[in-house]
Symmetry: D2
Subunit: 310 residues, 4 copies
């Protein structure tokens, strides 16, 4: 069996001020702190069964360390390492627990400069008794947390100076599937919407409009429980004086969204609801032309802004 | 590569009065009629990309014809046919389009009498211009349909006189994965919650409490867009004088639910919201004991009632 | 007892093309047609107990005929007529049923040119049997109508060349209460938010930024059942190619909103959810300064556009 | 002008164990503690502008001290005192601040033993800076509180051994209006649904089925922001091991509900959403007969249980 990725697992972010960024990710957004080391805090969303889906590490400046993908089987990490090394990609092994909770992993750059991590093993959270849910299919009880707290990691949006090539490389070498794509009037590809799990959009690969700009991450999306929760999320962001960079519904994916930004770093969280699930094995990619609709947003809109570099 | 099932695709139901049952499935529940033959109506839910997810065929009495599963690859239908024939299972081939919109398929009984169908090919819906959505990732526009209309098929609940054996057979021979299981105080298994897609519960296999009863289907579940929609669904069912057999939230799967019943046949639809997605390849099945909670329902409750036989 | 207004009752709008405007108000927005005369259609929202809350009359051009307010007691119509006549206001009596379903009424202009109507008697809707709800506290069953159909009329927003004087006149002579007011940095009043019922905002009186512009109506607001329904409403508007002029949450009133516009006339409907109810008899008006927040909208935003003149 | 009541203001409850009851009202239900005296805690809901809407006083046993109604004008307290005294009702004056935050008030028994309090003056909450909302029309910021926290007090349900007489006395002497009433098959009145504010149901007066039982309160209802929040409320109650006594939608009032109970005292909170507002001055009371529907609940159901005596 050829190696496969199972799902988007986590994102590792960097901040020049961990305490300030925790005011955003923990106090405002409502993520749960799972564990803390000398320079890193590990966070999870409410309905996740893995140790963490986001980490914050203190560094000189804001940045993205890597995007982590869980393989379908344990041996796929090694198999991908071989495949990538054979292709001339520089693969670095990350020892078990170098990233807390995680087994042996590999890190490498994909075109044109995004750092990906592949791993299979990840600890399950073990909540203290007073935080444990009465339900066996829920880990922590969410009842004392922020009402708008994210439920599960959903996707990342990455910006690339040559996004179509990046997306095609991911399809060819890491076995991502294309679920939607969007072409501009000049025929060039603006965005490709990929999935590792085969069931939803997990990586949106977007053309960085300034061709010289380095590869970057625009946002990490987490699900919430319904459209009404996006208003609640907006309310919480505003009360915490967190800037909101967009609110509405995307045409692509049909996801409802609210973007909130950590002013310390520029990292964005998307609160996301809805869209559709693709379990169909005979899925035909959705092909959008720029002229199909007046606006890429079906409802509401976005405020332009930069993505954060690696 | 070993054959795999991709997802629950559709259920084929029988009714002694097609017009009466359409009052339930179409007028009250809100499903869309896609196509009609001499004795059968094919229906789909609002956010589905396949020809149909439910069919109603006029027969002498109410019954379940089969439960349809889509394979991961076209050649898996043949591969399963071989595997099952080798095991002594009586496999019948169903020619392309015998079931409208569908390619070659196989039908067979799984223990202890449930009729399953496996297929890969299924037409995509081609809506008339006036019903077509402006969004390329949506087929029909839902704006003129029932507000509580189902979104996507989610799972079936089947009752079996020896449910644990049935579930284990499905895991062993059709490669279902177990996501949750529930044991009674006497140590016996009451329910096993399986998935073909690997990402959610698609078949709940429940012990028929009267051991002599034949295999049956209790309900077919469809997703809606949020908890508030379950109240809307209840409202619509009541205005249509449709009996409601349960309303609340399950402990298992954490799905919120409302059960509605076609009085002509006893077939039930579950309007379902929430629960969780299992993309994790290292999922540990959730193991419930009867004593874990006072009630199998986390919230609200069910009215006891029969399932419909094949 | 001094006369009092009980509530905002209805708005009478004019259109050069009744059929086109019905595509907006009926087909897209989802209002129910109650009755039709030679030149007028009377419409109601889903949870209203009065004959109509909006009428559309065919005239040479788009316009607002009047805004109707129901008095607290039958004799208050006459009492207001006397008061206004004594003040030199030109009061015209409207005979019973000149406006369908309505008893004797008066019409007059308030500064600076808005036509108000006061009435007490209004028929109750009498739905045909097949449209009657099973619930005695609901008139028509909503189950076959648009899911985003308005529930109850909520407020009107009027634009005035001297809005503060207009608002103060309404407070002094028609006994409106002020619930909120918003001042610009130069100390001038931008908006006054009044209630006739004393329990919610029913008339927003806004400074027309071009001082020479005639009095006008920017929108008529109807409630929906929750924040998620605003996304549904947006979806329905988009599928019907109806322009959306705003989506988000107001700071003033805290109402969540979506504005949709009839392209034939420029008349706007606001789908509105939330905000707060003021039952407190000792309410202190909320006083906003322009510098209190970065934006008058707490979340999302508005597209500038004209209001429709009388 | 005759005196009038403006609205249901608060309920004063008694508990043998204040700390235990605060685990219910504060920790689980999510009400905010405003102030605390030697034996009493004052609580408010999230969207209220008055000092408190519920108080808990430590006493030997669970009980209801009184139900507080705010008058429409300051002088109405005195006017009601005179009217009631003239009728032979024993009226006791309560000095300003005897109940924290409140001006001069009167207390008295209405048939057949319910203690009512009338007052006009009530302090507005003055939140500490770190809890203050950025919105001037909101007092405390809710962002750090329980997501299911009540929004505003809505109604009380009282049980009476002769409920019809009780209701008629309230209509005649305290100027309550009847919005709905429900008759049993034997022609007797089961429930009368009254409003002081004239715009919603604020007091449900229910026939105590055991005729000899003393007057009691079954529950105090608070609004939440939508139907989905009732599922959230249920989730929070279950995680806190709080018993739930009902979940669904009432036919009368069309309110969606979830009942939760303080096991220490038996006091119940209803989380309530929806229903309708009656601004119509010409409202015809809704008249239900027992045979109109199969069940008093439109959806879901109730668990029988006792009310708490005065």
């Amino acid at each position: 069996m050829a190696p496969e990725l199972a799902r988007l697992g986590h994102i590792a972010l960097e901040t020049p001020d961990l305490a300030d960024s925790m005011e955003f990710f923990h106090d405002a957004v409502g993520m749960e702190e799972v564990e803390r080391t000398a320079d890193t805090v590990y966070l999870r969303a409410m309905d996740e069964f893995a140790h963490h889906s986001l980490s914050l590490t203190e560094r000189d400046s804001a940045g993205v360390a890597h995007i982590g993908w869980q393989t379908a089987e344990p041996e796929h990490v090694e198999q991908y390492a071989e495949r990538l090394t054979d292709m001339g990609v520089d693969v670095r092994w990350v020892a078990e627990d170098e990233e807390r909770g995680q087994g042996d992993a590999i890190r490498f750059e994909v075109p044109h400069g995004h750092t990906f991590e592949l791993y299979f093993e990840m600890e399950k959270p073990d909540p203290p008794a007073e935080r444990r849910s009465r339900l066996r299919n829920r880990t922590y009880s969410p009842t004392t947390t922020n009402p708008v707290a994210p439920r599960q990691i959903d996707h990342v949006q990455i910006w690339d100076p040559n996004a179509r090539d990046c997306a095609e490389w991911l399809q060819e070498h890491l076995d991502f599937e294309m679920h939607e794509r969007y072409n501009l009037e000049d025929g060039s590809r603006w965005g490709t919407f990929l999935s590792a799990s085969g069931t939803k959009i997990e990586a949106a690969v977007i053309q960085n409009e300034s061709g010289q700009a380095p590869p970057a991450v625009h946002h990490t999306a987490y699900t919430v429980d319904g459209g009404a929760d996006l208003f609640e999320a907006g309310d919480a962001m505003k009360e915490h004086k967190v800037p909101i960079d967009g609110f509405g519904q995307h045409s692509i994916s049909r996801g409802k969204f609210l973007y909130a930004r950590d002013t310390t770093t520029g990292h964005r969280i998307e609160f996301n609801d809805g869209g559709y699930l693709v379990f169909d094995p005979d899925w035909d990619p959705i092909e959008w032309e720029e002229t199909d609709l007046d606006d890429r947003q079906w409802l509401g809109g976005l405020t332009p802004g930069n993505a954060v570099h690696y």
